[in-house]
């Protein structure tokens, strides 16, 4: 038991989590054409969902917030934009706990969809307050594209994690 814990708490494990976020950040930088820009998936949010719900390697609230700030710096976005999203996601994750894994596949998708939509809402409200007359189009498109990419992200991270454990 002790040895297992030490594996999950080791430096390499933490570096792996950090690395996955950096990779998500790089994926977020990929240039997309004008029409697809609305559908840019929230890579880092998906990675956070994986680590908080599906893995024993965990990242806490502060960690999620810092990763959010890192994403903001990486993308040159308004500081705190991604951090908001990550905090909401991480907090919902700790409320739900590991219950999510018990749901059927369809149920899991529904919960992830709700979580992604929920995490965008504080920003949406703030932007409305600041005078952006944007439609919901951007939010819904990115939530849907993120959800569509979720199985791929899940598989990749699963393989990534298992390879590391095997080593």
């Amino acid at each position: 038991m002790i040895s297992v814990l030490s594996v999950y708490d080791s430096w390499s494990s933490r570096l792996m989590v950090l690395l996955s976020f950096v990779l998500a950040g790089i994926l977020g930088l990929l240039p997309l054409s004008e029409h697809w820009d609305y559908c840019r998936p929230q890579w880092a949010a998906l990675v956070l969902i994986y680590w908080s719900f599906y893995s024993k390697r965990s990242i806490d609230l502060w960690g999620a917030w810092c990763m959010g700030l890192l994403m903001d710096c990486l993308h040159g976005a308004l500081l705190g934009q991604y951090a908001t999203l990550m905090v909401v996601l991480r907090y919902s994750a700790s409320l739900l706990g590991t219950r999510l894994k018990l749901y059927a596949q369809g149920g899991q998708y529904v919960v992830i969809f709700v979580l992604l939509a929920l995490s965008q809402s504080p920003l949406y409200l703030l932007y409305r307050y600041l005078g952006h007359s944007q439609s919901l189009q951007w939010y819904s498109a990115s939530v849907v594209s993120s959800l569509l990419l979720w199985p791929i992200v899940y598989k990749m991270l699963r393989i990534f994690e298992q390879k590391r454990v095997a080593l």
Partner: protein
């Protein structure tokens, strides 16, 4: 040590409190950054660290474009060369009249005792990254402070005005595009001379002409050019065409939609206008 603290799982007490504190802090940061640009210095110091990463992501696309260009057939190149030569000849001819007009204009201005217009030179730059948030229409250029880029410098391409430099880093700079929601430019109608302010709508290419009376002399298809009255842009550069005009009886303002002339999607090369003061 830092990483250890980052990923350490703490007991769950007071988690809600901590979450709401962080949420409030993040939203406050976004608000301060949006309204008062409080984190511009931070962004400027982080930019050199992020730049290699952005280049790295951009590199494959850059190389694909290069290889595609190289693979273009000899015939295509000849054709392109021919058509370029034609345009060059045509534009040369136009330039001759323009030079004459410029001389005449200078003469007329001298007669009217008006200060002559400042001469303009251009600095070529290339787009490195297009901002991926539709709320913020911004691009990153590969020219910075070291190349003589200054804050507020206008950005154009062959089709018209693109935007303005808002952040200058040592080797790169960030420009805001006309289509950004928080951006506006003073324009005039080339046909009738009517002036107004065009604002971005956040959506690519589409702008809105604001606060124009219902009785304004404006038609669909009119070309709007920069008026230069806000003191940032030189006058006479194309901004966009009027694509839609809705005049509702009883409303005091007309609703006018404008299509941007210049698009950053078509080519990577852009020009920065450097105007000499004297």
């Amino acid at each position: 040590m830092f990483i250890k603290r980052l990923f350490h799982q703490k007991p769950r007490s007071g988690l809600g409190l901590r979450a709401s504190f962080l949420l409030a802090l993040s939203l406050f940061c976004v608000f301060m950054d949006y309204r008062y640009h409080s984190f511009d210095t931070l962004r400027m110091s982080v930019a050199p660290l992020v730049y290699p990463l952005q280049r790295l992501v951009d590199a494959p696309f850059h190389w694909i474009e290069k290889i595609r260009n190289r693979q273009q057939g000899f015939h295509d190149l000849l054709q392109a060369h021919q058509s370029l030569q034609d345009t060059h000849r045509l534009q040369n001819a136009r330039l001759q009249t323009l030079e004459a007009l410029e001389a005449e204009n200078a003469h007329l201005r001298a007669l009217l005792k008006v200060k002559p217009q400042a001469a303009q030179t251009f600095l070529m730059a290339e787009i490195v990254q297009v901002h991926n948030d539709p709320f913020m229409q911004r691009i990153l250029l590969n020219r910075g402070e070291q190349d003589g880029v200054v804050l507020g410098q206008p950005l154009i391409n062959a089709e018209g005005i693109l935007g303005e430099i808002i952040e200058v880093f040592p080797k790169t700079s960030r420009a805001i595009l006309l289509s950004d929601v928080s951006y506006g430019i003073s324009v005039e109608n080339l046909r009738s001379g009517v002036r107004g302010i065009v604002r971005g709508r956040g959506l690519n290419q589409a702008l809105r002409l604001q606060h124009v009376p219902n009785t304004i002399d404006l038609e669909v298809g009119d070309l709007l050019v920069s008026s230069g009255l806000e003191g940032r842009y030189p006058s006479g550069y194309p901004v966009g065409h009027v694509t839609e005009m809705k005049q509702t009886a009883g409303e005091s303002f007309a609703e006018v939609k404008v299509q941007v002339s210049a698009s950053h999607q078509k080519s990577r090369q852009v020009l920065l206008i450097q105007s000499s003061k004297d």
